[in-house]
């Protein structure tokens, strides 16, 4: 029966083969989106007796969110977090990849140094960094003091610095991971272009600027998508470092979602945030997809 490979025929086998995957995607990706969409139109709070039963309030949850200055701050924090992590990580990743790709001795150590944070659990990494940010004797502050810095010390407890502390840890953790994609990109570059450039007497810098960077554009787009999604979904270090505080100054979208659902037990609001979250991610991925398709056409 499997012999019918190219002719579309009524064969139940392919459906049976994709069935498990489709079921799990349906249960844990499609269904939760639908459920949240439905729940986002109801007021329901599990820890307040009179709101325990859902009641329809239309767009009430969405309106409440966008009128809430806290939520607006969280949106701003999320934007700052993305702006603070994505471009720097990508820039560092490219720099690391170029450095690690050279044929020099001991380059393995460099690669290990840049890549190893990727393999650590974010919560473990953050626990170590928590010490670095400790006031007075923390390593980070001691070093800054050594370099002549005399500003605010309590990084994770200072509303102006907490988000920056969270950003620093994320950049440290992810740059080496993105480096790997650039390494793959660089190693897939066509040799003949470089040979031609060398024949034409191009300097290393010119080759880098005129050939390597443009050829890595697709890799950069790919890394940007990954980095963007990572920025949205990785909040483990926030639990360890700041718990979103002080006064929500380091809370981002997913952290607020967690708080609304599991601390405030607010089903309606958390469903609305889930939907906003999903829409942002879909809009971003689809835009990227459409743009890259157009460029190739």
């Amino acid at each position: 029966m499997a012999n019918e490979t190219s002719k579309p025929k009524k064969n139940p086998l392919p459906y049976l083969l994709v069935f498990p995957t489709v079921v799990f995607v349906a249960l844990f990706t499609a269904w939760p989106v639908l459920l949240s969409f439905y729940q986002s139109f109801f007021r329901q709070r599990m820890n307040i007796a009179k709101y325990r039963e859902p009641s329809f309030i239309g767009f009430g949850n969405y309106i409440e969110l966008f009128e809430d200055p806290y939520f607006i701050e969280v949106i701003k924090n999320t934007l700052y977090y993305i702006i603070g992590t994505v471009p720097i990580s990508i820039f560092l990743a490219l720099f690391f990849a170029i450095m690690v790709n050279r044929k020099i001795r001991n380059v393995g150590w460099l690669r290990l140094a840049f890549f190893h944070p990727m393999v650590l659990p974010m919560v473990s990494a953050a626990t170590i960094w928590l010490f670095f940010f400790t006031p007075n004797y923390g390593l980070f502050n001691s070093t800054l003091r050594f370099l002549g810095y005399s500003g605010a010390e309590n990084w994770t407890g200072n509303p102006d610095l907490a988000l920056l502390a969270v950003i620093i840890v994320a950049v440290w953790k992810n740059s080496g991971y993105y480096m790997i994609f650039y390494l793959a990109g660089i190693q897939n570059l066509p040799d003949d272009v470089y040979e031609a450039a060398a024949l034409d007497g191009a300097t290393g810098w010119q080759t880098l600027w005129k050939i390597t960077f443009p050829l890595l554009r697709r890799t950069t787009v790919f890394i940007t998508i990954i980095a963007f999604i990572d920025a949205f979904r990785t909040i483990d270090h926030i639990f360890v470092l700041t718990s979103g505080g002080p006064s929500r100054s380091s809370s981002v979208l997913l952290f607020t979602l967690w708080q609304e659902r599991f601390e405030n037990q607010d089903i309606g609001i958390s469903a609305a945030i889930t939907i906003i979250f999903v829409l942002v991610l879909l809009a971003f991925t689809i835009t990227n997809f459409v743009m890259s398709e157009n460029k190739e056409a």
Binding site: M1, A2, T5, S6, K7, P8, N11, L13, P14, Y15, V18, P20, T21, V22, V25, F28, T29, A30, W31, P32, L35, S36, Q39, L92, F96, G108, L110, R111, L112, F115, P117, M118, V119, L120, V123, S124, T127, I128, W129, F131, Y137, L139, I180, F181, A184, T203, G204, R233, I235, F239, V240, L254, L257, W258, R261, F262, T274, V278, L281, I286
Partner: protein
């Protein structure tokens, strides 16, 4: 510009690159190295006083102490159980789905494929609130199965398998069909052997990802019988009596990191290759 000054410029650039990258590499390594050093520091010599790096001697007491303060053994077995369970089921589902999408033409194939890809566009962590409800409804709350089950189907893995299977030469497949291979013999003898690198790549990234995962297990577990290492560590750091005992915390942190990290150090090249592989699309 004369050739000499170009050479000089190149050399300076080379050296500047070296110095900056060595400096950054040192900076990047400080956290883990510090934690390693601090974990062997005697507990009665707090880091707030004296040198932030070394104490007077090296000791293993922090590890013993941390181990006795929380059920790390149970956490280990939970994490390992979850990682293996996810991996085994994923390998089955992605091979079957990848094979179906690569080998057959069937009605609704494109729609089904796009449907599966949805999982790559909407990360599971965005859906933790509704998934929590689903798990409760299934009666799985606070079980190790609950940590694993949302990941049993993998769009990423299906995609990787599809790519790998498509690269298998058509002649080979046709030869298999002529020899009368059944569908699972085609997978076993024709499609799988050349796709092993893709499988390893997927396996390593899946294991790393789920060993390190925190948020979902935090939400879906409520007792030590199902809590994995990451959630256990955060609970440990919040124990009242711990406070700022950094050497104890470092020991606990390293215990969580160690198994995967040692495997990574041994198979470093394989890891990096795998992650490179999974990035090429």
């Amino acid at each position: 510009m004369t050739t000499n000054s170009i050479k000089l410029l190149k050399k300076t650039g080379h050296w500047a690159g070296n110095i900056i990258s060595i400096f950054l590499a040192m900076l990047w390594s400080v956290p883990v190295i510090w934690a390693l050093v601090a974990s062997f520091r005697p507990a009665n010599e707090p880091i707030s006083r004296g040198d932030v790096w070394f104490g007077s001697t090296l000791t293993l007491e922090n590890y013993q102490h941390a181990w006795s303060m929380a059920p790390f053994g149970q956490y280990y077995s939970n994490t390992i159980f979850v990682v293996i369970l996810i991996l085994v089921i994923q390998l089955i589902t992605i091979i079957l789905a990848g094979f179906a999408f690569a080998h057959y033409e069937f009605k609704g194939k494109r729609i089904l494929f796009f449907f599966v890809l949805l999982q790559m566009m909407i990360p599971t962590s965005a859906l933790l609130a509704p998934n929590f409800s689903t798990i409760r409804w299934m009666g799985l709350f606070d079980t190790r199965l609950a940590i694993a089950i949302p990941y049993f189907g993998s769009a990423f893995g299906t995609f990787l398998m599809l790519q790998a299977f498509r690269a298998v030469p058509r002649d080979l497949v046709d030869a298999g069909i002529i020899d009368g291979c059944s569908w699972w013999q085609l997978i076993r003898y024709v499609y799988l052997p050349p796709s092993i690198p893709a499988l390893i790549a997927f396996g390593l990234s899946s294991a790393t990802w789920h060993w390190n995962e925190f948020l979902w297990p935090l939400i879906i577990t409520n007792s030590d019988k199902s809590r994995p290492l990451t959630a256990g560590l955060v609970r440990f750091t919040q124990l009242g009596e711990i406070g700022a005992q950094w050497s104890l915390l470092s020991a606990a942190t390293l215990m969580v990191i160690a198994p995967l990290f040692i495997v990574f150090l041994i198979f470093q090249k394989q890891f990096i290759k795998s992650f490179m592989h999974s990035g090429i699309k």
